[in-house]
């Protein structure tokens, strides 16, 4: 088997550095300040996260005093766990980080995921959510305009689940069916659970493939979530991004800590999300303080590959956006 000569390996690292620099410079221009998430923390501090990713996927390290530490499994959680004890209610922060997260995988071993991300803390209004989504779109657009962003609002599915009187384990199963867009599974679930016609219509409409269906909100929460999404789409339309954005109310993320706006970005030919984010205020409560919080992270390795492919295709080098959005 032949391997790349060393200069090609160095070239990838050079490109990775350039990619990182482009994104970091964009974030600095938008008024974000650098933050360094701690690499190690007591394993207990990540317990709220293990509901979502399972304890087995956290890389554990035993310290000299026999304490079990976790090697940063998720940058957002590390930042919130660090900030929450000192949080003051009148503070507004715009932070960015560029740091690896680590996961344990039974097939691969330890996975290092190089991430760049932003966290906007202390602000809970439409402008903050819309501005964060726009920043995510601007960054994706810098690397190629053929991307797609899925957006959703988790309050819609959560509002719907409030209407269904079933044990939480059954609701979890239902979430799985929605996540897989399994129409047959959903039909069977509706039949077995003898759900009302309004609930059935509402559930089936969630699977609308491109978010182009008619929705049937059943309560205030669901109504609000649709209004928020409409306003967001209108806002993004003024920046010419509407044709890149698809509504998907069935979107449920791996880290089920988002509450409200959620979004994911993809490029054609790369079979992993390049960007994911959303609002997660209730998750911060698990660290002792409810902090308004919204953010996103980018997979740096994927962004580097996209950048390399661009240069190989002879595309113009990426520059900074001309004007700051904020």
């Amino acid at each position: 088997m032949e391997y790349n000569p060393i200069f090609q390996e160095i070239e990838f690292l050079r490109e990775k550095y350039k990619t990182k620099k482009i994104i970091e410079d964009t974030l600095i221009k938008e008024g974000y300040e650098y933050f360094e998430p701690p690499n190690f923390d007591d394993l207990d501090r990540f317990l709220p996260l293990t509901d979502n990713i399972g304890q087995a996927s956290i890389v554990k390290v035993i310290a000299g005093d026999s304490r079990i530490l976790a090697l940063n499994p998720d940058n957002t959680t590390s930042i919130i766990s660090w900030i929450a004890p000192f949080w003051q209610d009148d503070v507004k922060l715009k932070l960015f980080y560029s740091s690896p997260a680590f996961r344990s995988d039974k097939d691969v071993g330890i996975i290092e995921i190089d991430q760049i991300g932003v966290e906007r803390l202390g602000e809970k209004d439409f402008q903050t959510d819309a501005g964060t989504t726009l920043l995510a779109l601007d960054i994706l657009n810098q690397f190629g305009s053929d991307f797609i962003m899925e957006i959703s609002n988790s309050k819609y599915v959560n509002g719907l689940l409030e209407e269904i009187d079933l044990p939480s384990s059954v609701k979890r199963r239902l979430k799985g069916i929605i996540y897989r867009k399994d129409k047959k599974g959903l039909n069977d679930f509706i039949k077995i659970s003898s759900l009302s016609e309004s609930l059935s219509n509402c559930l089936m409409s969630i699977l609308a493939p491109q978010g182009d269906g008619k929705y049937f909100p059943l309560n205030q929460t669901m109504e609000e979530s649709l209004q928020e999404l409409d306003a967001l789409r209108e806002f993004l339309n003024t920046y010419g991004y509407l044709d890149r954005v698809f509504l998907d109310l069935s979107m449920i993320t791996e880290l089920d800590y988002y509450h409200g706006l959620t979004f994911k970005g993809y490029y054609p030919g790369y079979f992993k999300e390049a960007l994911s984010g959303g609002r997660y205020d209730p998750f911060t409560e698990k660290y002792g303080k409810k902090i308004p919080a919204v953010g996103f992270s980018l997979d740096l390795d994927q962004m580097t590959k996209i950048n390399l492919d661009r240069s190989q295709k002879g595309c113009e080098p990426i520059g900074l956006p001309e004007n700051s959005r904020s």
């Binding site: 867009k181 129409k183 047959k184």
Partner: protein, 211 residues
């Protein structure tokens, strides 16, 4: 030929593939050859579809990683591999049950005793008995699992049951049904977005013949 214009479909070889061939033919798809040609892939330029014939247990791997946009595979494989693929269409063939079966009255009934379960579906088995808080030992076998209780290798089996004739022929009977199984058309979550138009057209054509 721009590969992004083509749909790649991973088809599970064997029974599923024969069922798929019938449905694709009924729906008027041209160029569906099937794996009997010994070639592992087959492209129909007119339909802009490439079929890839793989082992049933590999379909989810191909689709999950984007090597194929779509897959045709039994629900049993999706459950076993905890797939997060979109299950966009139930193809209506390959209907059967996943069930626990054993020799009549010859398996331990106390929850305190460890139940030995022979199966080709270790993950589904662990999850099913885990929910029931039943202690089990999984005996993983590649096939002919019906033999295991007869030879004392296991107390029960977890396997697909279609007509029940194989079970009956070996003196076994269904003890509990776990879930219904049928063939599914699955999609890679990202392909589904980028190739939505062609995937949607394919689904519409198939829907007309598999209802």
């Amino acid at each position: 030929m721009n590969l992004l214009d083509y749909l790649k479909i991973a088809v599970a070889k064997g029974r599923t593939e024969r069922g798929a061939a019938e449905i694709f033919k009924k729906a008027g798809f041209k160029g569906y050859v099937g794996s009997e040609s010994r070639s592992l892939t087959c492209t129909c330029e007119e339909e802009k579809i490439t079929y890839i014939y793989v082992k049933p247990s590999d379909v989810t791997t191909y689709v999950q990683n984007g090597a194929a946009d779509l897959g045709i595979v039994g629900k049993d494989m999706l459950l076993e591999h905890s797939s997060s693929l979109y299950e966009i269409l139930d193809l209506g063939f390959g209907k059967c049950h996943l069930a626990v079966a054993g020799l009549k009255d010859r398996y331990p009934r106390s929850k305190e005793e460890t139940l030995r379960v022979a199966t080709s579906y270790p993950n589904i088995t662990k999850s099913y008995f885990g929910e029931k808080k039943r202690k089990i030992k999984v005996v993983e076998l590649g096939g002919s699992v019906e033999l295991a209780p007869l030879l004392g290798l296991s107390d029960v089996i977890v396997d697909l049951v279609e007509t029940g004739r194989t079970l009956k022929a070996n003196g076994l009977k269904v003890i509990e049904e776990i879930c219904e199984i049928s063939a599914k058309l699955v999609a890679n979550r990202i392909s589904y977005r980028f190739k939505y138009e062609s995937i949607n057209q394919l689904v519409k054509r198939l829907e007309e013949v598999c209802s």
